[in-house]
C-alpha cells in the first residue's frame, strides 16, 4: 500500500471494549458489528486495492441514533467513516483501524414524493435508481445517473457530487439538490435548504455536496425531479481516427447543440464491449461516439439530422440512428457493460477519472497511448466526451509482483496530464485516498489549507473521515493561527481616489 493513513490512536484502540459497550447502548442488537467476519464485509469500498478493518461498524436506524453515535465518538476521540452503499471508487469509505464505519444502509425509506413542488425527500440509503423508479409512473425522473445507479445510494451521490451520462444537459448532483439534513461530528443536527430553489445564507448545501463525508453525515436528502422527455433518440457514430471523433464532439457543441449524452469509446473498449455483449458495434473504427438527444419529438428528429450532418463533416465512417427503443438500448448496451467487459479481458483493471477541456481530447488520448506503451500496461478508454470526463481503465494483474505499483504510477501520470492541459483530478469519483497525494498537482499549500479551514468549521477535532482528500493533515489550531504584521505591511502602491 503506497498511500499512508494516519497512525492509529493507541488510546482509542485500548479503550475499544468500553466504547463498544456504550455504542451498543445507543444502537442495540445487530446494529453494532464487531466480529472479524462481520467487519470483513466493510473492509473496502469500490477501490478494492485498499482494505482495513475498522474498530466496529454501526448501522443506526434513526437520526437520533446517528446524533448520539457521533457525539459518543467525539467524546471518545473515535474517528467516524460514513458509508452508503460502498460503491465509491476513490476509497472515501475505506475504514480506519481506530475508527468506526457509520453505515447508512438502514436509512432506506422514501419519505415524501411531492409532485406539486416537483421534488422527492428520501433517506440517504435509498439508491439513486429507486428515486427515478418511484416517480416513473407519474412521468418524472431524477436526472443524475451514475453508472452504478442500481446500487449507489443518494447519500453517497451527495458526498461525491456524482454525475452520470446525462449531466452534460441536466447537471450533476449539486445542480439537482434542494435540501439536506446533516449531523455534525458534535451530534448537532442541521438542516440546509428545503423545497425552495435557492437556500439562504452561505451556500452550505453547495459545500456539503462533494465533501466526501468529511463535513457531516447526511441523514435526509431532497432532490428535484424532472418531467421525462417525450422523445429520445441516439446516434452511433464511428470514426477511422480518434482525432475526427474529438473534432465531431467540438463541432456538435459549437453548433449550439447540448446532447443529453455524448459518450466516446476507443478501439480497445469497442472491441472488449462487442466481444462481451454483441451490441453490434463496428470493429473497424478507431473511436465510437454515442450521441443521445432528448426533448419534444420535433426537436429530437431535427437535432438528430443536424448531428448526422456534423458527423459527416467530421469524416464519420459509421452513421446509425436508433429507429426504436430497443435499438437505442442496444447502442447503450456496450457502453454500459464496458467495465465488466474489460474485467473479462484482464485479471484486474483500475478505473481513473479526470476531466479535461474537450478540445484536448485527441491530444490526451495520443499521450495516453504513449504512456501506456512506456509503462507496459494496456489502457482502455470509455468516457463522457461531452463534458471531457475521462475514465481510462488500466489493465493489470494484481497477482503479478509490482503491477499494482506500476498501475498507480501510470494513473498518476495520466492525472497529471489532465491537470497539465487545464483539467482536474476528478470529475465524479472524488479524491478519497486514491488521488489524495496528487492534490498538490492542482492546488498550492495555501489553497488546501483554506479548504481545511472549512472542515474545521464543521469538525474542529478532525474526527470525521480524516486521512481522505487532503495529503497533509493540519490541526485546526494551527490552521486558525494568523501572524498579522501590524503596521509592517507597506501601503500598497495602488491608485487611490
Amino acid at each position: 500500500m503506497s498511500i499512508a493513513m494516519p497512525l492509529p490512536d493507541a488510546e482509542v484502540l485500548a479503550g475499544r471494549d468500553g466504547f463498544l459497550a456504550a455504542l451498543s447502548r445507543i444502537v442495540p442488537g445487530e446494529g453494532v458489528i464487531a466480529d472479524e467476519k462481520g467487519l470483513r464485509t466493510y473492509e473496502c469500498d469500490g477501490l478494492v486495492a485498499y482494505r482495513a478493518l475498522p474498530l466496529a461498524v454501526v448501522l443506526p436506524e434513526t437520526v437520533e441514533q446517528v446524533a448520539a453515535v457521533m457525539a459518543l465518538a467525539g467524546e471518545h476521540k473515535v474517528k467516524v467513516v460514513p458509508r452508503g452503499s460502498g460503491t465509491g471508487l476513490s476509497g472515501g469509505a475505506l475504514p480506519l483501524t481506530d475508527g468506526i464505519v457509520l453505515g447508512l444502509g438502514k436509512f432506506n425509506r422514501i419519505l415524501e414524493i411531492d409532485y406539486a413542488n416537483r421534488c422527492v425527500t428520501v433517506q440517504p440509503g435509498v439508491s439513486n435508481l429507486a428515486i427515478s423508479q418511484a416517480v416513473a409512473a407519474a412521468g418524472f425522473y431524477y436526472a443524475p445517473d451514475p453508472s452504478s445507479q442500481i446500487a449507489c445510494s443518494i447519500g453517497g451521490n451527495v458526498a461525491e457530487n456524482s454525475g452520470g451520462v446525462h449531466c452534460l444537459k441536466y447537471g450533476v448532483t449539486t445542480n439537482n439538490l434542494l435540501g439536506l439534513e446533516i449531523v455534525l461530528m458534535s451530534g448537532e443536527v442541521v438542516r440546509l435548504g428545503g423545497k425552495q430553489f435557492d437556500s439562504d445564507g452561505y451556500d452550505l448545501l453547495g459545500i456539503l455536496t462533494g465533501s466526501e463525508g468529511l463535513l457531516g453525515v447526511v441523514t435526509e436528502v431532497t432532490v428535484r425531479i424532472l418531467p421525462k422527455p417525450s422523445s429520445v433518440q441516439a446516434l452511433l457514430l464511428g470514426f477511422a481516427d480518434v482525432v475526427d471523433a474529438g473534432d465531431c464532439v467540438a463541432r456538435i457543441i459549437a453548433a449550439g447543440i447540448i446532447p443529453a449524452g455524448l459518450e466516446m469509446m476507443d478501439k480497445p473498449a469497442v472491441k472488449a464491449a462487442e466481444d462481451y455483449c454483441n451490441a453490434g458495434y463496428p470493429l473497424d473504427v478507431d473511436a465510437l461516439l454515442i450521441c443521445e438527444l432528448d426533448g419534444p419529438a420535433a426537436e429530437v428528429s431535427e437535432l438528430v439530422d443536424r448531428v448526422e450532418a456534423i458527423a459527416r463533416e467530421s469524416r464519420a465512417t459509421v452513421l446509425r440512428r436508433s429507429q426504436s427503443e430497443e435499438e437505442r438500448a442496444r447502442f447503450w448496451l456496450g457502453r454500459k457493460s464496458a467495465f465488466p467487459a474489460v474485467g473479462r479481458i484482464s485479471p484486474d483493471y483500475y478505473c481513473i477519472d479526470g476531466t479535461i477541456p474537450r478540445g484536448q481530447l485527441a491530444h490526451v488520448l495520443a499521450r495516453m497511448r504513449e504512456l501506456s506503451a512506456q509503462y507496459g500496461l494496456g489502457v482502455v478508454n470509455v468516457f463522457h466526451a461531452g463534458d471531457g470526463n475521462l475514465h481510462p481503465l488500466i489493465l493489470y494483474d494484481a497477482a503479478r509482483e509490482g503491477d499494482l505499483q506500476k498501475t498507480e504510477d501510470l494513473a498518476g501520470a495520466i492525472l497529471r496530464l489532465c491537470v497539465e492541459v487545464g483539467g482536474v483530478l476528478s470529475g465524479e469519483h472524488g479524491i478519497g485516498i486514491e488521488k489524495r497525494d496528487l492534490m498538490g498537482v492542482m492546488f498550492t499549500e495555501d489553497d488546501l489549507k483554506q479548504q481545511q479551514r472549512i472542515k474545521c468549521a464543521f469538525d474542529p477535532a478532525g474526527l470525521l473521515n480524516p486521512g481522505k482528500v487532503f495529503p497533509v493533515l493540519h490541526r485546526c489550531a494551527e490552521l486558525g493561527a494568523m501572524h498579522v504584521h501590524h503596521g509592517k505591511v507597506p501601503f500598497p502602491d495602488l491608485p487611490r481616489f
Binding site: D114, A116, N117, R118, C119, G171, V172, T174, E188, G194, Q196, F197, D198, D200, G201, D203, G206, I207, T209, G210, S211, P227, P229, S230, I253, G256, I258, G295, P296, A298, E299, T355, P357, G359, G423, V424, S426, G427, G430, K435, M439, M442, F443, D446, L448, Q450, Q451, R453, I454, A457, F458, G480, M482, G487, V489, P492, L494, P495, R496, F497
Partner: protein, 408 residues
C-alpha cells in the same frame, strides 16, 4: 468619505487586503457598486474597487467556458458571448435601476457574489450552478483558488459554490470561470389572461410538470401587468400568467402549441414573439414593475406550490408584487415598517422558505435584518465558516448583518 483603492491585478488586490489586515482597516468590496444599496450598510474607511480588474481572460466557445476578471462588466461578457450565439443561461438580473444605480453596469464578480438568477433559473439553474472556479484573496490576505475550468469536477471542496451568495464577506474574488451555453434560436411566450393566484400556480405547475422544457413561468396581477412595456400584457386589463419556451424553431413551435392546449379554456390566450418576449422577461428579471417609490422591496424564495398561498398571506402587509419561478419566487413591495416586515418574514418562514429585504431605508435595516435570520445551529456554523476565511472580519463587515454572521 471612504478612500478608494483600485487594484489593477490579483497581486495588487492581495497587497491591499494584506495591508488592511495589518492595519485593522475594514474594506468595503465593490465591483461597479450597483448593489451597494442591497444588504446592510458597510462602515469601512476604505473601499476596495475592483473595476480595474477587468477583461475576458479566456473564452473558447466550443469549451462552453469563459474566464474573466471579477470586475468585467456583464455587458462586455454578454457581447462576447453573443458573437458565438452563446449566453449566460442563468439570466443574471440587472438590479442597478431598482437600487438606484445605472443600468447595465454590473460586474461578473458582483452578480456571482450575490448569486442573482433570473426567470430561467427554473430550467437552467442558478448563478452558483454556472460558476466553475475562481481565484480570490481571503480575509487572511492570501491568494487562493478553487474549482477549475471544466464542468465536471469533484477535486476538493466546492468552495466556488460557497463564494456565490457570500456578498464579499469571505474573500475578494479576482477571477472567475463560468459555464456558458448556446443562446436559443427562438423564443415564444404563452400568456393566459385573468387567472387568480391559485389557478395561475396550478397552471404553471402543470406546465412545469410537462415535458415542454418551460424556461419561464410567472404570474402578474392586473395592476403589475399594466406596467409592462409590452402592449399585449399592459393592455390585457387582467392578470397575466406567462409561460416561456426556447430552442430550435421547430421545437418551440411544437411546445408552444402543447402549452396552448394545456391552458385551453382557462382564459384568453395570447402569444409573445421574439422581441416582446425578450422585453417581458427582462422586465421581470430586473424587477422593473416595482414602483419607483415603493418603500421596501422583498424577494421571497419558497416552495413553488406554496406561491399562491404565500401571495395571499402577504396581502396582510398591504403591498403588491408578482410570482416568478412557477410560484417559487415572490417579488413584493410594501411599507417600510417593522410590522409589515414581520408579516413578510412570517409568511415566508411558514411556507418553508425565506425572505430577503432587497431595498429599504437604512432606518428599517437597523431593525430588520436584510437576510433571513437563521436557526442557531446553522448560524453558528456559518459564523465559523466565515472565521476560517476572514478571522478579523475585515471584508464587508456587517454586510450580511444580523444574527449568525459573526457580528451583532
Amino acid at each position: 468619505m471612504a478612500e478608494i483603492l483600485r487594484p489593477a491585478s490579483a497581486e495588487e488586490t492581495r497587497q491591499a487586503v494584506a495591508w488592511a489586515l495589518g492595519e485593522d482597516k475594514p474594506l468595503e468590496i465593490v465591483g461597479a457598486g450597483t448593489k451597494r444599496a442591497f444588504g446592510h450598510p458597510v462602515s469601512a474607511g476604505y473601499r476596495l474597487d475592483l473595476s480595474g480588474l477587468s477583461g475576458i481572460v479566456d473564452y473558447e466557445p466550443a469549451e462552453l467556458v469563459l474566464t474573466a476578471r471579477a470586475g468585467t462588466p456583464l455587458g462586455e461578457i454578454a457581447a462576447a458571448l453573443a458573437q458565438s450565439r452563446q449566453q449566460l443561461a442563468f439570466e443574471p438580473a440587472d438590479l442597478g435601476p431598482l437600487l438606484g444605480a445605472p443600468a447595465e453596469s454590473a460586474t461578473l464578480g458582483g452578480v456571482l457574489a450575490a448569486n442573482l438568477s433570473g426567470p430561467r433559473r427554473i430550467l437552467a439553474g442558478a448563478a452558483r450552478d454556472h460558476t466553475l472556479g475562481l481565484a480570490m484573496v481571503t480575509g487572511r490576505g492570501e491568494a487562493v483558488k478553487a474549482g477549475g475550468k471544466v464542468v465536471k469536477n469533484v477535486t476538493g471542496y466546492d468552495v466556488t459554490k460557497l463564494m456565490c451568495g457570500s456578498w464579499g464577506t469571505l474573500g475578494v474574488m479576482t477571477e472567475l470561470s463560468i459555464k456558458v451555453l448556446p443562446a436559443p434560436e427562438r423564443t415564444r411566450t404563452v400568456l393566459v389572461a385573468g387567472l387568480d393566484g391559485d389557478a395561475a400556480v396550478a397552471c404553471m405547475g402543470r406546465a412545469l410538470s410537462s415535458p415542454n422544457e418551460v424556461s419561464g413561468a410567472a404570474y402578474l396581477p392586473a395592476a403589475i401587468a399594466a406596467r409592462s412595456a409590452v402592449s399585449h400584457v399592459a393592455e390585457a386589463g387582467a392578470s397575466i400568467t406567462a409561460l416561456r419556451v426556447e430552442g430550435p424553431p421547430i421545437s418551440v413551435g411544437a411546445r408552444n402549441e402543447a402549452l396552448r392546449a394545456l391552458c385551453a379554456g382557462l382564459g384568453e390566450i395570447e402569444e409573445l414573439h421574439s422581441h416582446n418576449s425578450a422585453t417581458f422577461w427582462r422586465e421581470l428579471r430586473d424587477a422593473a414593475p416595482i414602483a419607483a417609490d415603493a418603500p421596501a422591496v422583498w424577494r421571497l424564495s419558497v416552495p413553488p406550490a406554496t406561491g399562491a398561498g404565500v401571495f395571499a398571506g402577504l396581502a396582510g402587509s398591504e403591498g403588491e408584487g408578482w410570482l416568478d419561478w412557477g410560484g417559487g419566487l415572490v417579488w413584493w413591495s410594501c411599507p417600510a415598517t417593522v410590522a409589515a416586515s414581520a408579516v413578510v418574514r412570517q409568511v415566508a418562514q411558514a411556507a418553508g422558505g425565506h425572505a430577503t429585504l432587497v431595498r429599504a431605508p437604512d432606518g428599517l435595516k437597523a431593525d430588520v435584518p436584510v437576510f433571513h435570520p437563521q436557526p442557531a445551529g446553522r448560524a453558528a456554523l456559518s459564523r465559523r465558516v466565515r472565521e476560517g476565511f476572514d478571522p478579523r472580519g475585515i471584508l464587508n463587515p456587517r454586510r450580511m448583518g444580523g444574527p449568525g454572521w459573526g457580528e451583532t
